[in-house]
């Protein structure tokens, strides 16, 4: 690993936060509302303890791992060189596919909302090319970019949601009682799925320079991410109502289409599209970087950038081959991809780290 490519723990956390904003504002509120109905706006609150537990658990498992050890190094220590490499190859292949899935879903979203007569390839290629350039660079460049963009993104999201506030009605949000606990938990599943994806970023842990006496604290960022999830679900559901929101692929965008600020500003969709593009770009760059990092560790090749272009090409291929049209793509995005994602981030990764811990390898 290049010694110059070091980031602080805060920078890694901000990179995680900005990256996860992408799937968070893509799947919400539709996926949560589909599962949780009217009670879905309470679901982000229910996610917090579970996500916090996963975060704390993974932190505890890696607590004694030395500086410069990322998730892939830890897996190779814990499972042995062969087992660790198998884990690495499977993870890299999955994340390559997942990168393609992200690029395709970003393209599908732009097509269904802004460019109805367009085709996915151009969007996929442009997004991947932009991500490739960034992912070929240093981790600290991407992290710093996320750090610079984060306050802008948060300010824009807050402004957009506040502008939508006058349309929110209690009729669309209530009643929600203790009897809806099952709905609340069901709605929490897709939100937890997104927050659990922070586990992928542990592959970049090796780049984090440790500050003596300072322990990484990701809870404030987790809280902020869930606050964004809550706000997006609350305002969308409060504006459209559950039965209408459930019929829409991008209900949040539909709310934005209606925004009027003091009768002066209308049609502010471009702002939201910009948020989508920026967060998709950061997340995809991070995924390509993680994949390259895994290959570098598995193969022992010095330069990570060597693997970035092939990974981006494979991601592009999977983006094209995953589905012929939006309907086929929906089948992937509705269940299969989120389920595999959850399995890897909430089960396999903790299990791999637990094995290493039990074997006292770190």
């Amino acid at each position: 690993m290049e010694k110059t490519d070091r980031i602080t723990d805060r920078q890694l956390t901000v990179l995680i936060f900005v990256s996860l904003l992408s799937p968070m504002i893509r799947i919400l509120p539709t996926s949560a509302v589909t599962l949780g109905g009217r009670a879905a706006w309470v679901s982000p609150l229910a996610v917090f303890p579970v996500s916090a537990l996963l975060t704390a658990g993974l932190r505890a498992l890696l607590k004694n791992a030395p500086e410069g050890v990322g998730l892939q190094d830890a897996a190779m220590l814990g499972l042995g060189p062969v087992g660790g490499r198998i884990f690495g190859v499977v993870s890299a292949l999955w994340l390559t596919f997942y990168g393609g899935f992200l690029a395709r879903s970003a393209a599908e979203r732009l097509l269904s909302t802004v460019y109805p007569n367009g085709n996915p390839p151009i969007f996929v290629v442009v997004t991947l090319l932009a991500a490739l350039v960034t992912a070929s660079g240093l981790t600290k460049t991407l992290s710093r970019t996320a750090e610079v963009l984060m306050p802008i993104l948060l300010a824009v999201i807050a402004a957009v949601l506040l502008s939508a506030a006058p349309d929110v009605t209690g009729e669309n949000l209530l009643p929600v009682t203790y009897r809806n606990w099952e709905d609340i938990l069901c709605g929490a599943v897709p939100i937890f799925d997104v927050t659990a994806a922070f586990a992928y970023f542990l592959f970049l842990r090796g780049h984090v320079a440790r500050t003596p006496g300072k322990r990484p604290n990701r809870f404030p960022w987790l809280t902020l991410l869930l606050l964004v999830a809550f706000a997006v679900t609350f305002f969308t559901l409060g504006t459209l109502g559950v039965n209408l929101a459930i019929t829409m692929e991008n209900a949040f965008f539909m709310v934005i289409r209606n925004i009027k600020v003091f009768g002066v500003i209308e049609r502010a969709e471009a702002v939201v599209v910009a948020i989508w593009i920026v967060t998709d770009f950061i997340f995809l760059s991070a995924i390509l970087m993680i994949v390259s990092e895994i290959w570098r560790t598995v193969t022992g090749v010095r330069r990570r950038a060597f693997f970035t272009a092939p990974s981006a090409t494979l991601s592009g291929m999977s983006a094209f081959l995953i589905a012929r049209d939006a309907f086929e793509f929906m089948k992937w995005s509705d269940f299969l991809v989120p389920a595999i994602n959850l399995g890897i981030t909430a089960v396999i990764i903790p299990a791999v780290l637990a094995v290493g811990k039990i074997r006292k390898k770190y």
């Binding site: 802004v114 109805p116 009643p175 209408l244 209606n258």
Partner: protein, 401 residues
């Protein structure tokens, strides 16, 4: 070199600014003179399916223009419109209101709403109105005058209709949401009336509110009277203000009535079934004008005014509830209101709402308060005040002594 490459890259970004036609690669760039800003759209039934007309403004003088095309569906007709020699590109993203003929509303409301939902250029907050007694196109064309664009007249109605208590223009979003939530929605109806022209350059017709239509996605369940519409507005929280006449003794008082939020409560029997619904409304009223003379400083007179107003409002709310029960359609969303008030108990009622609702006893109580008379007090012949009042008497007696 390290600085020159990023600088060049940033300079190339200027091409994305959209500031000039020649240099930009920003695809949405349009010159102001080349666009037709559509403010109103009308849709009517016609051969072979629908007739769509768009009403826009263009040019420096903001001249009003109308273009019309027929097609098998709204999408086809809109497509045909783009082929018309408009000389400008029609921009639908700021459409304020959509008017549909009652023929179309009878069985194809869902098609209209579906088009607005899917077509990303349209806003879901576009107001939707049903035109009675004529086609929507005839009404809007009749409204258009040399100095009164139809869109301005409709916008005026849209802004003020709830201020005079004659209705409320629900947006497509509110209608779609209500249909999705309750299977039924209220839509404002209007009709055109031929009136004497107040000035030469206005249109042939005027537009007036004609109550709410109770609509399902593919049918009109019924049309509400003016009284039922007022009652619905009061219960749905869409009411802002209205002037009402109350006769008291030898005078008729015109009162401006403001509503304090209505309170709707369920009353349950011992076995958990729904016994009745208790509706309470609090009104605050102010004297706007008086025909004839009556001493409004008398408490019994004010009580009569309050009773008169309560009676009118109670009758309107009662009429709206009764109409819903007769239709068997909960267009006031009483179930939703009651569920928000008592979610657990409402969930546990043994009967189905559809069975309970038509015969559900509803008790309506209206409390009216006569707040103020603005800056005018009664003339002396009514109030009995003498010039100078008691002070003059007191000063007079002191100076005499």
């Amino acid at each position: 070199m390290r600085k020159r490459v990023p600088a060049l890259g940033l300079a190339l970004c200027l091409l994305l600014s959209g500031c000039s036609r020649g240099l930009t690669i920003f695809s949405n760039y349009r010159r102001l003179e080349s666009i037709e800003l559509v403010r109103t759209v009308t849709v009517d039934t016609a051969e072979p399916g629908v007739s769509v007309a768009i009403y826009g403004t263009a040019g420096e003088k903001q001249e009003a223009r109308m273009y019309e095309k027929e097609g098998t569906s709204i999408g086809i007709a809109m497509n045909e419109l783009t082929l018309m020699p408009l000389g400008r590109e029609a921009i639908l993203s700021h459409t304020e209101n959509m008017l549909i003929g009652s023929d179309l509303a009878e069985d194809r409301l869902d098609e209209v709403l579906d088009y607005v939902e899917r077509f990303s250029e349209m806003r879901l907050d576009t107001g939707l109105l049903v035109v009675l007694d004529s086609t929507a196109r005839e009404l809007v064309s009749g409204l258009a005058g040399e100095e009164t664009p139809a869109s301005d007249v409709i916008a005026g109605l849209s802004e003020n209709i709830d201020r005079v208590g004659k209705g409320y223009i629900f947006s497509c979003r509110e209608i779609v949401s209500s249909l999705a939530q309750n299977g039924v929605a209220l839509v404002q109806c209007v009709r055109g009336v031929k009136e004497e022209k107040l000035f030469e350059k206005r249109g042939e017709m005027n537009i007036e509110p004609a109550g709410f239509a109770v609509m399902r996605p593919d049918t009109v369940v019924g049309y509400l009277t003016e009284e039922e519409t007022l009652g619905s507005m009061l219960l749905l929280g869409r009411y802002r203000s209205r002037n009402l006449d109350v006769p008291v003794e030898n005078a008729v008082l015109t009162m401006s009535v403001d509503l304090v939020t209505p309170e709707v409560k369920p009353v349950f029997a011992h076995d958990g079934s729904l016994e009745k619904v208790d509706i309470r409304l609090k009104l605050s009223s102010n004297l706007v004008s008086m025909e004839g003379l009556v001493d409004i400083r008398r408490e019994d007179v004010r009580e009569k005014v309050e009773e008169g107003l309560s009676g009118i409002v109670e009758s309107a709310v009662s009429a709206a509830v009764r109409r819903g029960q007769e239709m068997g359609v909960d267009f006031l969303d009483l179930r939703g209101i009651l569920s928000r008030r008592e979610p657990i108990k409402m969930e546990d009622i043994p009967e189905k709402w559809e069975d309970v609702f038509p015969a559900l006893p509803v008790e309506i109580r209206v409390e009216s308060v006569f707040s103020r008379t603005y800056d005018i007090i009664d003339p002396p012949e009514i109030s009995g005040r003498e010039e100078g009042g008691p002070w003059k008497k007191l000063i007079g007696s002191l100076t005499d002594n």
